[in-house]
């Protein structure tokens, strides 16, 4: 039992390198696949110590909220806990948003 648990612990420590679900390019691909055909764009995508932050602009605030909900619901993105603070509204009605994802399992030494 101890040997199995030790292997699991070792796996978790190297998961960022060996589990494609944590690769930035994979997360970006999964997130991009949820973008509507128009009215929304991503402006930046960052990963720091496993935490993902993506920023973008939406034509309306409800569109930004829907995008965040779609991210939370996508099975391939369940390795992260996603949350979105309230978007910032511009005078022209467009909304700037930031969505953050904290990894659920990966640990860094």
């Amino acid at each position: 039992m101890a040997a199995i648990q030790k292997t699991a612990e070792r796996w978790r420590k190297v998961e960022e390198a060996v589990n494609p679900g944590f690769y930035p390019v994979e997360v970006l691909y999964q997130v991009s696949s949820l973008l509507p055909p128009d009215g929304m764009r991503l402006t930046s995508f960052e990963v720091e110590k496993g935490k993902v932050t993506l920023r973008g602009e939406a034509s309306t605030a409800p569109a930004a909220f829907k995008f965040a909900e779609d991210i939370k619901a996508k099975p391939e993105l369940q390795l992260f806990n996603w949350q979105m603070p309230s978007p910032t509204l511009r005078p022209d009605g467009r909304a700037e948003f930031a969505i953050e994802g904290d990894p659920k399992f990966a640990k860094t030494d």
């Binding site: 039992m1 796996w11 420590k13 390198a17 060996v18 970006l28 764009r41 990963v47 110590k49």
Partner: protein, 188 residues
């Protein structure tokens, strides 16, 4: 012999208990019995609750162990794979330079413009020895994605520990700053 006789006389001289004294003695006996039962019962209840907790903990532990045992083959396969696939630092190898060389040559072949390159901090943990490089580059989003897919494959043991992708002024050009670390097998 004389002492024994005087003692038995003393006993004979003791008066009999009155009715109310007898009643009080019975009450004292009942009270003592009730108190003893009260404390005894409290002790037994505490013992029971502590044993119940222990049983619940053991059942939880058993359940967890059963899950681990169900996943035994998966974890053994992963252990085998890590031991076979994780790269090892060979004698006379300069892993940091090799990592930088492999990343920059792949970037050049994917038509990416390298704007900055530097070495990151080396790190040693019980699970890996890490060498890292930092790069700043730009190119079309398509080429950046192609390069990222190429440099991050499970068998390479390369983690992107820091990543910042921003849309440049002329889409689809993007600028990317990242740190890539290669996690070699630890020194045992």
């Amino acid at each position: 012999m004389a002492g024994l006789n005087s003692r038995s006389k003393e006993i004979q001289n003791l008066r009999k208990l009155t009715k109310s004294e007898k009643r009080l003695s019975v009450l004292l006996g009942i009270a003592t019995f009730a108190m003893a039962n009260f404390y005894g019962l409290g002790y037994l209840l505490d013992l029971h609750s502590s044993l119940s907790r222990e049983v619940a903990d053991l059942r939880g532990q058993e359940h967890t162990n059963q899950i681990w045992l169900k996943e035994r083959n998966l974890w053994l396969a992963r252990k085998k794979w890590i031991e076979a696939a994780q790269p090892r630092i060979r004698p006379n190898q300069v892993p940091q330079s090799e990592l930088l060389e492999s990343l920059t040559s792949a970037a050049a072949s994917d038509r990416l413009e390298i704007q900055e390159q530097s070495f990151g901090a080396n790190e040693s943990t019980p699970n890996y020895q890490s060498v890292a490089v930092r790069l700043k580059l730009s190119g079309s989003l398509r080429d950046v994605i192609k390069w990222l897919v190429q440099i991050q494959q499970p068998e390479l043991f390369q983690a992107v520990t820091s990543f910042s992708l921003k849309s440049a002024n002329e889409p689809p050009t993007v600028s990317l700053e990242l740190e890539v670390a290669r996690w070699y097998a630890p020194n045992l």
